[in-house]
Point group: C2
């Protein structure tokens, strides 16, 4: 970091210094891609002059790059990793020879697309169109924390085709995040050729329509880059710097050739290029260094300051109450937001996509509007934004219907998880319990989809009391959670003595199953099916079959020790979920892995369903209490 | 349909007729939502005048609504189903009392959001932002089939926030689909309140920036609606008709109240509203009819004319060849495209998102450019567009990297499947076999994600010969397929006699496992792991353990009968996939379901991985051939 920042103008000496470093960086880029025999030199070389100028004068360096007040630099076209690594190395973040030698080597942190464990990298990208949303996340966190810093975003021109970018653009304009300055490396080429032929786009017109100010420059001219950034600080809008560049700029025989988007030079070509740049060719030494690489797990860890969340006292719903889990969620969330604020903890950011009234974040909207972010019907942007905010000093809740928060934003959640976010996705209206909205709105994969995403934990609470406690638990626990809830009002589950089951001494513990009633054969359920399961158990008892009702609110971590006790009989699983990928399938898979020889019978959803109230739909699907009880009784007596 | 179409102008009599019907429709809308005690009256009543005008004068009616040359009317804001059903009924598609009485009733086709089994509905929507992409799909199919028709798309204003819409907009402009006329029901309210407060948007500016012509009208004025459509026919651009409307227009006490987006009237309010409209209140008769509803499976079936695909002769790769499955895919696909064209079959549309050279559809691009659709880096739009094209008279192939075709477009594939599409998603670069691109590009859930989507079949071929045959099979088979392939060149699998395994008499059969080598314990694999598995088997044999190598290229349908033979020993599964959700987990789940008592040991990916070549990554993860063979040997000897 320079004390200078983006004030005044660049001197000749400063320009010459940038030029010199840029030449070295171009050499670095070419060496690392040739050495790895893969990677993206073209875009790296068209972006490099901007990277160098911004990293040099922005408030970010090796020492402050974990502080919350640093400037943020997001690179959305993560395939320009050679350019980013070279820039960071030349600015002292890590040794340049390491980045060159270990680029794209299995086990190295210098991955093919930039990853957040590399010092100075704000967000792992590579799947295009994410960077501006991530930058907005940092802006949300900064404002909520009351910290002032500047945010820079570098994007490719091809990726402007991604629909997530206009979503982010409107969001930034709505909230007046005028500390965002975005660059587009406008080299006018994408993999398949010219942008004009692949997908013509009026980039300037689109940004202006969405309320941004656009400055057009020569992206290889340091003075123009510097002055444009300086100018952006005085403009009361988010600013786009549309930088005309030349792909592979700096090496004559590579310039403007689309093929160099993702193709390295051969060693012979590299020698010619380095000669033209006037850079020493130390490829043999680099090869030797590469061959001697030592893997370290620690280098891959995403270290983060733990959030401080105050969860207040749980609320207890009486057994005479009947409410919906989503309301219990909304009330618990409001408690957490208020209590954490009162105790000076980590701010909680609550993101909504135009459904606050349904997903019950309207309490936060009303009582703590400064913690509430209305992002409109823009789930892709919002998921990324919420994820990125959560690694910038807030804890994020993103509440939505299941089909939007899980299915529509599935890849965004995957990328959040790769980024080690601290995100709580709260989805309501999961399963068939969506009111009468029909199959497009039935999220039948809230367990099965999330099971693919390594870091996410899934909680599907069984009643309002468990919801209350699970929400407070997830808020305070570090890491990504999905909390899934239906829409309907359901009864409070009671103990035999008539007191609420999930209250009093009860504490939510991730992965712990709850034995609601004792019995001979395990009847396992979760979520909004719990009250229905109670009825099944009652009906079965009337036929002389005693089912042990087990609530497994953490379907990704079924309690296999408990199930072993029931191994001599069929294990029944009753779930409002795709039967192929829900708890029944998970129990089966784990049983086979552990060699337990369990027999599992799943009462779950086996096809797209109908539109109607849950009672009616479940009956049509043979999943109503009477049918399930009769089948369980028959199977138990076999 | 009227012979008149959109020529001339509306007479007083015609306007009066529309007015009269519109009043009835408003009554229908209010009755059905009150009867169902849910649904969306507000938007239905702001869109209804446009629906009626367009359905009346467009070339679509009950009799031609399955013909390929009809005009298409897509409704993107599927929650306006009451308006759509009422319009269709009043135009003779089905009895109006049926739609009113059975709306949102479990088992009825009149679902909460419009669904394609309803006569006259082109595409099931409800998840917003899909309709324009679906309309583009019809445009693609029409052009490829050489048929001329007009396409109308109705959208909400809130849904303009969805990023998929700008993607579709640019696509339509690029390809000059000037037969598309889109409407936006601009009532300026969304669920959470005014659009200006939720997410301000310059809709006109955005459409114009993307090359559309915009006509602004009063959406309740029949003459303006008619004239705007007539004008759109003469404009050499896609046209947006931005229709200023009033939410819940037509009933004084409902107008401009955001709450009526998704809230029905009470019966008392309904009585008042019907009185104001001058419509008879027959709610009691409707209740009786609703109570007598009879469910029919047949009504829910999506009937479609089967495609005629000519698959040509398979290509055979010699055992001395080493190629990648994606190249075998590209060559087979080109054969299918050409052969089907030569024989006058159903056109094959091949969709690309700027990766043709990598996913090997560049052969089709070069040799059959009229079958090739370059959609840019716009996966959400492209997935929907390809899906919708496939129900409009073409067979669609959408080729992409795994993380884009499966993960990024996950919800779009789900909605395609609900729509009964005939789509072949061909993803390359799945698993860790992505070159050195790193974790953001590693699609580890191509089985586990798709397993949630009921209709999709998944094929992961084991070598180029099997790829060739699987591609031809999937092209000709009706329905949705994912064909998943790695990036690397792999050897051709041979029989003991040295001839290619998947050639000669071999025929691809969905769900059939291939026993590559006989042995005592089952060692199951698929995809690009097959050649590695061959090495594992060899290494194990050297240690005295004879593994039966089984290739299961259809991991959603493991051959359990075959596995039963090996039930006395541990079943090994070796997969380039998330170990929680891949073939190992599926076999385990099925075994538990069938009570087979299998013990399954999965060698799969248990965390996000590294960036590097597959050999190097697999070694770091303990999934290299030596480690796996040693573990399999140890487990076999226990």
């Amino acid at each position: 970091m320079s004390e200078k920042g983006f004030t005044g103008s660049l001197s000749e000496a400063e320009i010459n210094e940038l030029k010199t470093v840029a030449t070295h960086c171009r050499g670095d880029i070419l060496k690392m891609t040739t050495l790895a025999a893969s990677g993206h030199p073209g875009g790296s070389m068209s972006s490099i002059d901007m990277y160098l100028t911004v990293y040099k004068y922005a408030n970010i360096n090796k020492d402050n790059c974990k502080s919350f007040t640093r400037d943020r630099i997001f690179v959305s076209h993560g395939h320009t990793s050679p350019g980013v690594y070279s820039t960071l190395a030349r600015n002292g973040f890590f040794p340049v020879q390491d980045a060159i030698a270990y680029f794209r080597l299995a086990g190295s942190i210098y991955e093919g697309h930039i990853e957040r464990m590399v010092p100075g990298v704000e967000w792992s990208t590579g799947n295009l169109g994410q960077g501006l949303s991530a930058a907005c996340g940092a802006a949300v966190a900064g404002r909520m924390r009351g910290e002032e810093f500047d945010i820079y975003v570098f994007m490719g021109d091809g990726e402007q085709q991604k629909g997530q970018i206009p979503e982010a653009r409107r969001f930034a304009a709505k909230y007046g995040y005028n500390n965002i300055t975005a660059f587009i490396d406008y080299n006018k080429l994408q993999i398949s050729g010219s942008i004009a032929s692949v997908m013509p786009q009026n980039i300037r017109g689109e940004f202006e329509a969405d309320g941004w100010h656009v400055i057009e420059i020569d992206g290889h001219n340091y003075t123009q880059i510097f002055n444009a950034v300086a100018a952006s600080k005085k403009i009361e809008k988010p600013v786009l710097i549309l930088a005309n560049t030349i792909m592979s700029f700096g090496v004559s025989f590579m310039e403007n050739i689309a093929g160099y988007h993702g193709k390295p030079l051969t060693e012979a070509q590299l020698a010619d290029a380095l000669k033209e740049l006037g850079i020493e060719n130390d490829i043999e030494a680099l090869k030797a260094k590469r061959a001697a690489f030592k893997f370290s797990y620690a280098a891959h860890e995403l270290v983060q300051e733990p959030a401080k969340i105050f969860t207040g006292a749980p609320r207890t719903y009486a057994v005479t109450d009947k409410t919906d889990n989503r309301s219990a969620f909304g009330d618990a969330l409001l408690d957490v937001v208020k209590d954490t604020k009162a105790n000076g903890g980590t701010p909680v950011a609550v993101f909504d996509c135009d459904l606050a009234g349904s997903v019950k974040t309207d309490g936060v909207e009303k009582h703590c509007p400064e913690n509430f972010v209305q992002a409109g019907i823009q789930e892709h942007h919002t998921a990324t934004c919420a994820g990125a905010a959560s690694v910038n000093g807030v804890v994020s809740f993103f509440a939505d219907f299941g089909v939007f928060g899980v299915d529509e934003a599935y890849n965004q959640q995957r990328l959040n998880d790769i980024n080690g976010s601290n995100l709580k996705v709260a989805t309501t209206h999961v399963g068939l319990d969506v009111g009468e909205d029909g199959k497009t709105h039935q999220c039948l994969d809230y367990v099965g989809a999330m099971r693919n995403i390594y870091g996410f934990k899934v909680i599907v609470p069984g009643d309002p009391n468990q919801t209350d406690r699970a929400v407070r638990y997830a808020a305070a626990a570090q890491g990504n959670f999905l909390i899934a809830m239906g829409r309907s009002k359901i009864p409070t589950v009671a103990k035999a003595d008539g007191t609420p089951f999930f209250a009093g001494d009860y504490k939510f513990e991730y992965g712990k199953a709850d034995v609601i009633t004792e019995g001979d054969a395990a009847f396992v359920t979760y979520g909004a099916m719990l009250p229905r399961a109670l009825k099944v158990v009652k009906l079965a008892a009337e036929k002389g079959v005693k089912l042990a009702l087990i609530n497994m609110s953490c379907p990704l971590e079924p309690d296999m020790e408990l199930l072993k006790k029931y191994a001599s009989k069929t294990i029944f699983v009753y779930e409002d979920h795709n039967a192929n990928t829900g708890l029944g399938a998970i129990i089966g898979a784990k049983a086979a892995e552990e060699g337990l020889g369990l027999r599992v019978k799943t009462f779950g959803v086996r096809s797209y369903a109908y539109s109607g109230n849950p009672d009616g739909i479940l009956k049509l699907l043979g999943l109503d209490e009477e049918t399930v009880a009769a089948e369980a009784v028959r199977a138990s007596k076999q």
